[in-house]
């Protein structure tokens, strides 16, 4: 509780939390908040400007943009949360075991991670989606793959210093297994660092998903996604700029919110800044 209060004392973080809550509520309450069905087409109402019956206007098929943005938030959040959770689980474990084991094994694993890091995340995602085909699960896999290497590094660094501490040696002397020492004693000491990076990387995941959808490798239409909406709107950018502007703003709000929360978490967990 004191931690949360310390975090919210920072105005930037509070704004970030509010932005994230707005998006999450929008996604959760989409069925009740949407004035129209996001897939309902109406030729008579196509390309309506914002205002009136359609608060944010309609697209070329006459679908309600507001409804599609609310439903699209679900896709963005689901992909961001699942892919980053998977990356934390897999990458974090790899980094912890590698750092704890040390020696040649560590060297080898980290070089593999360096190779993975050398791919720009969009390119790596593109390769995976191109190989597996555009589907929700494949997007999650693609984005998780891009984040595994960074999380391996984030988890490994503190393990390297923690394993030198006497309490780890004491655990060994008491006859604890390596698994117990690593996951019961070391893990709680690195968790906050990893989770902070998780919130920052969720913002990256949202952007990657939007970029992949924008180039047509996202979740297939007619499922509404923010990246896909931007691309569809692009064809009418001169006549109906709102089609691209609204989903763009939605991405901005979520990415900004996640980054602000991540920064706030980082400051709040840094013991050097805790008292300030």
């Amino acid at each position: 509780m004191r931690f949360i209060r310390a975090m919210l004392r920072n105005p930037t973080t509070s704004v970030g939390v509010v932005l994230c809550i707005v998006v999450v509520l929008g996604a959760l309450l989409a069925p009740w908040l949407s004035p129209h069905d996001p897939a309902e087409q109406s030729i008579l109402d196509r390309l309506q400007p914002p205002g009136g019956e359609f608060l944010l206007g309609t697209d070329t098929f006459g679908r309600d943009v507001l409804a599609r943005i609310l439903w699209g938030a679900r896709i963005s959040l689901v992909i961001a949360v699942t892919s980053i959770s998977a990356a934390i689980l897999i990458g974090g474990s790899i980094g912890m075991v590698s750092g704890y084991a040390g020696g040649r094994f560590d060297l080898l694993v980290m070089q593999v991670m360096d190779v993975m890091l050398s791919f720009p995340s969009l390119i790596l995602g593109l390769i995976v989606v191109a190989l597996l085909g555009p589907a929700l699960l494949n997007l999650v896999i693609a984005i998780a793959l891009t984040a595994i290497a960074p999380f391996a590094r984030i988890a490994r660094a503190p393990v390297l210093s923690l394993k030198q501490r006497a309490f780890v040696e004491a655990g060994r002397a008491l006859g604890f297994s390596h698994a117990r020492v690593l996951f019961v004693h070391i893990l709680p000491n690195i968790l906050s660092e990893v989770l902070v990076m998780g919130s920052l990387w969720m913002a990256t995941a949202v952007r990657t998903e939007a970029s992949l959808s924008f180039i047509g490798l996202g979740v297939k239409p007619p499922t509404p996604t923010w990246g896909g909406m931007m691309r569809d709107g692009f064809e009418n950018i001169l006549d109906a700029p709102w089609l691209s502007i609204w989903p763009g703003l939605a991405i901005l709000v979520l990415v900004l919110g996640l980054n602000m929360v991540g920064d706030g978490l980082r400051d709040a967990t840094d013991p050097k800044l805790a008292g300030t």
């Binding site: 006497a166 040696e169 004491a170 060994r172 002397a173 008491l174 006859g175 117990r180």
Partner: protein
Amino acid sequence: MTPILEVAGLKKHFSTTRGFPWPVKTVVRAVDGVDFRVHRGEAFGLVGESGCGKSTAARALLRLIEPDAGSIRFDGTDLRAASAGALRTLRQRMQIVFQDPYSALNPRRAIGRTLAEPLIVHGRARGAAAREAAAALLAEVGLPAAAMARFPHEFSGGQRQRIGIARALALRPDLIVADEPVSALDVSVQAQILLLLRQLQASRNLAFVLVSHDLGVVRWFCARVAVMYLGRIVEQGPAAQVFAAPRHPYTRMLRDASPVPDPACRAVLPRVVGEIPSAAAPPAGCHFHPRCPRATDICRATWPGWTEAAGHGCACHHPDGGGWGVAQ
């Protein structure tokens, strides 16, 4: 009676390979053939300057650092030949207390859990019984049971060291390796901790291997003592005898560097200066010869053998008793 711990020819060498494209391999002989034995309920001291390998020796004999050569027999069982499972069982009977009480405890774990965990892992107690055992351990080291719910950062260095000792006692060991257990503490707290250790030694019939650079601590606490220099033991014997009448010039130098507050004991030996040489390139012959006032040609050429009389031995070509005496 078999000694609780018997160490023979213990060696630990660390090697580093550096340089490109012509790598140079450096071998640091941290522990280079160490023999000693500790009896049940006996306090044995390992003294020496920093870097002499005493801490490495202490860890190697618990196999916290894997030794390269030699034998470690714990209560008659060869520790180096023990399988991983057998080692887990044997380790319950030999524990370690660390120098730095701040890093010795997991900062994210309440004291009660830290103390109960070994009992639970080894299936000795669980639930309420484990909590009771943890409270009893705290009482034994002089801390209230209320400490169970608190975290390491809420305690002072001395209190943390008590908790570290309680944890070492949890599995009812026969031997405790104490690696500089008081050198990180204030002098007044040092005395309390040493008294506690001596009390435990008596009440639990514990054997100790006490590693320290502080001769005062070792002289007070240990029945027998070994003096290490550059990975080897240079003198070993009953503590009172070794410090009252050191036979090796290095022991004398150490003793004179931590004088007894008694002008009658002032030494006339020339002051020995210099630093401990690197264990990566130890001097030929007797490792101590560059700093030794008695060094002769034979010291520069060959390592002196071990000579022992009445349980007090040393490795020196010119041991004391031949005109190098102290003005008493």
